[in-house]
Every structure is written in C-alpha cells, then in structure tokens.
Amino acid sequence: MSMSTTPLTPEIVSQEGNAMVLSMGPQHPSTHGVLQLMLEIEGESVVKADPEIGYLHTGIEKTAENLFWSQAQTVVERMDYLAPSSNAFAYVLAVEKLLGITDRIPVRAQQIRVLQAELTRIASHCVWLGTHGIDLGAISVFFYCFDLRENVLDMQEASGGARMHPNYLRVGGVNGDLPAGYLARLDAFIAKFPGRMRDLRGLLQANPIFQDRTINVGIMSPEEAAQWSLTGPPLRASGVAYDVRRAFPYSGYEQYEFDVPTRTEGDAYARFLVRLDEMEQSLRIIEQVRKQLDIPGPVLIDDTKVVAPPKETIALSMEALIHHFKIVSEGFRVPPGDVYAAVEGPRGELGFYLVSNGENRPYRVRTRPPSLYNLQALKGMAPGNLIADLVVMIGSLDPVFGEVDR
C-alpha cells in the first residue's frame, strides 16, 4: 500500500483512497491492558484486524524453569492476575499428578480449593462486567461490581494473606486452614450475593442501549469457535456445553450440583448472559461447599517428602527438623515424566503441560492460556464490523494480558 500525501497522525500507518491502516492501542483505554490492533479499515468498517501482543511478555515460563516446583507456583499465579487461584489450582493439580499423590489430597483441602476457584471466578467476572460496562458507557455497573469483588478480595486476604496473589494453594493441599471468622464472612457474602446479582442484571440485561451494542455483534458459530479453539464462556455462548469441571472432573467437582449455562446465539450479548449465569452457578457450588466446611479436617497431605512438617514439631523431632530443612533449602523432587492437567478457569480451559526430569525444578512449564486463544478469535470476528464494535468484542472475550503475553 503506497503512502499518500495526507499528513499522517501517529495512529495512521498508511492511507490510500478510502482504505487505511490504523493502529489502535497499545494505550487505548478499551483494550484492557496493552493490546495493539492493526486495523485495515474502509470508512468505519473493519476489513482485517491483526492483534499485536507481547507488550507484557515477562518470560514466566522461562522463569518457572529456574525455580523450585513450589516457587514456580508463585510466578504462574501472576499470569491471570484477576483469578490467581485458578492458575495455582491447575499447576498444583499437574504437579500432584506427576508426584502420584492426587488420591491422597485431604478432602477438606479439595473443598477449600473449589471454594477459592469459584470465589475467584466471581471476582474475575466482576472485573469483566465492570470494565465491559465502562467500555459501553455504563459507568455505574463498575461500582456495583468492584464492591462485590472487594468482598472476595477481603476473604482472599484473610485466607491467603494477600489480596491479589494469595498463593494459598500448595502442592499437597492448601497453606493452613481457613482462619477464624472466615466462614461468617462467607455466609455474609452468600447472603449478599443474590441481591447484588439482581442489581447487576437490572442495570444491564434489559438495557436497550446495552442490547443494541451487544446483540448480533461478534457472532461465532460453533464450528468457528472450535477452529479458533475457544473455551469457557465464549464457547458456551456458541452452544457447546464444554466445561472442564464436567468433562474431566477434578478436586471433587463431580459431587456438586450445578448447571453449565449455554446460549446458542454466539454473540457478545450471549457471552454476557452466559457469564452472569455462571456467577450464579458458582454461588450454587459455594453454598454446597460451605455446608461441608463445618467438618474440620487436615488441609495438607501427610507426606514429609512433599510438605514440610508442622513448625511445632521441629523442636521435638530430629526427622522433622531434617525434612523441614530439606524442603526449605532444596524443595521436593518430582519423578520424571510429562503430564497435562487443566481446570475451568474464568476464561476457559486453563491447562499446564509439565515435564519433569526428576529434579527439584520443573524442566518445562507450558501453559495453555485461554486468554491467548480467545483473543486470537478476534481475527475471525472483526472483519465486516464497525470499529466501535471491536471494543464490544474485546470486552466480550475478556482477555487478561498477563496471561496472553505471560
């Protein structure tokens, strides 16, 4: 494409007649992070969209190869910073499979993991809904969402010690039991949630402006969705009820009653509805977990080769002291082999392909990042739509750039 004589603003890459290549981002407010879109446009409609990613690439997979198995968990948790516990969940499941201790994880630890995963799903969807609303000019929904998310972050802080990256899950269980007063907070959250959901639905679901902006925008047929390997809410909004929690149950998900919400329209509004329904299903799971949490029990596997013995015992037992020293100073070793384990994260199938060569550091940590593949589908969705609809599409795919770029 030849350069015309029109003076180019920094955003316009090239221009010829009615056609133009426009660079949107990487600082555009609606790109939810740092995403650059190279757009080939004719007037207002998009001919071709090519997302440029990598602005947040921090080499997490490489870093993880140089840390102990337990330390690597802290960096993989930082990929999807809106749902850190989901990342840790997939990672510890994969490591436990390699260690061969999957069947020995205490029941209470599994319940707490499910609780954390569902709470982060709600929190993550809250951020999505709030920012999606802002993108479309609906400011007030943001405050409702972040207020609800705040409750989850408070609970994460209470259990894991940090609001954003609690690192609460451990290979072999979770780090310590739920603190005193946690269940009361959880009860308050469960009581508050339905009313707050009614507010959220009331603000947007029947809103004619919101519907005008989202219905029939960014349509994906099931065939297209499979081609782009969409998972999570975008796939289910196209009608395919694939949910890792149902298809490959883990951590006791098979015992909980919940529906997998689907829609058949496959547009941005369908994705919106699927995510809202999902939040309600998450609460259903949380309610069922809550009933079981009254029964106390161990939360870490009783295996000193993987988990350091309790701190109190090291003054009493020489073996405990040795194990404690070994675990802290050189971590645990994982038998050689490769494994793939996945969870249903808020954005779709979040999997880890791990390779161990028998050492105390992972040989390879390959993530299956749902955000990366969901975002890539924008290439198939965008052509033929207006530039303004791109914003809706990005929002409805809900990418997190820590995970896209890793």
Binding site: T63, A226, R246, A247, P336, D338, V339, R364, K379
Partner: protein, 201 residues
C-alpha cells in the same frame, strides 16, 4: 493399542516424558515430522475438532532435540448439552524435531488456532513452520536475537550474561568503605555527637 504413556524414542538415552507410569487422561502418540501433516488431517477427519494447545520442549542432549506437542480434543462442534459432550477424548501428539533441521509443516490450515501458537513456538524455540502465512515473532520484539525458551539461552539474556552487573555499577569513583552518599561513618558519628551536645546545652 492406545497408550496413556508417552512412547519412548528409539535409541534415545535421555527422554524424560517416557519415564513415567501411565497416569494421564489423554492418549499419547508419537509422529515423525514427515508423517505429521497427514496424521493431523486424519485426526481432524476422525472428529478431533479442537487443537487445544500447541507447545514445545527442548531436550538439548537428546536426538531429536525438540518435541512439539499437540493437544487435541475430540468433541462434537454442534450446539450440545453437557450430556452430549460427555467425556470428550483428549489426545496428545508428540513430534520430534531435529536440532539441525528445525522445520515442521504448519497446522494453521487444519485448525486456525495454530496461527498464533506456531508463531509463539517460532518466537521462543526457533522452530520454523513451513507454509505458515505470517511467521514472525509474537511475544519478543521483532528485532530480538536468539530463542529464549531454548535450554542454552541464559535466563537473564545473553547481554546481561556477558556483563553480570550493569555498566554503571562497574565504574566507580567511590572508595571502598565509603557510603554512596559520601558521608563516612566517622562523619556521621561526629554529627550525632554534635546534635546531642546541642540538645544538652
């Protein structure tokens, strides 16, 4: 006979994946690069509608050096309920790639998702996917040299490996023992002493 254990490479002394017992819920098979494209096309025709993920692993001491790993999912792509989806089948296809001839046929015309996945492997491992429409770096800057996820690539990058500390830290006109502010311990003690005496008087 479908296996849930990674098949070993004939003659390879080092092959960590093949050493574990069958614990996976996926079937696993190995394919030669020459047979890869036909095999993937056949699998797609058999109902493996989704290429879930595409990754690579580097084993510098092994022949072939790289493994490119295809994670496939067999699932109907029509609107389907949970019961209809049931338990989809997972399949893992490993393809060994030689360190001297890092070429593989592209899969982006079988599954569109392979587009970015292959670009990422090209970017981080230097494996060239022949026939890819737009094979360029995706995560690293476009003018980057080297392939970061290879095992012989230093963690902090080659530039920092050559000079362990930043250049400005090596140049110093400050004598050993002198704090960066230039104020010595004696001077600080003197100052504290003066301040105390001022306070008394």
């Amino acid at each position: 006979m479908p296996s849930t254990q990674t098949p070993p490479i004939a003659g390879a002394a080092i092959d960590p994946p093949s050493l574990r017992p069958p614990i996976d819920d996926a079937e696993i098979e190995r394919v030669e690069p020459s047979a890869l494209k036909a095999r993937l096309e056949a699998l797609k025709a058999q109902g493996y509608t989704m290429l879930l993920d595409l990754g690579a692993v580097d084993y510098p001491e092994r022949t072939p050096r790289f493994d490119v790993v295809y994670h496939l999912l067999k699932m109907p792509v029509k609107p389907a309920s949970v019961a209809e989806v049931g338990t989809p089948k997972r399949l893992r296809v490993l393809c060994g790639v030689s360190g001297d001839d890092t070429r593989l046929p592209t899969a982006m015309y079988i599954w569109k998702v392979a587009d970015w996945a292959e670009r990422e492997i090209f970017d981080l491992f230097g494996i060239v996917f022949e026939g890819h429409a737009d094979l360029r770096r995706i995560q690293m800057p476009h003018d980057w040299e080297g392939y970061p996820l290879r095992k012989d690539y230093p963690v902090r990058g080659p530039a920092r490996e050559r000079s362990p500390r930043p250049a400005f830290a090596l140049k110093s006109n400050v004598q050993a023992g002198t704090p960066p502010s230039g104020r010595t311990l004696e001077a600080l003690q003197e100052q504290i002493k003066r301040a105390r005496e001022d306070g008394k008087s």
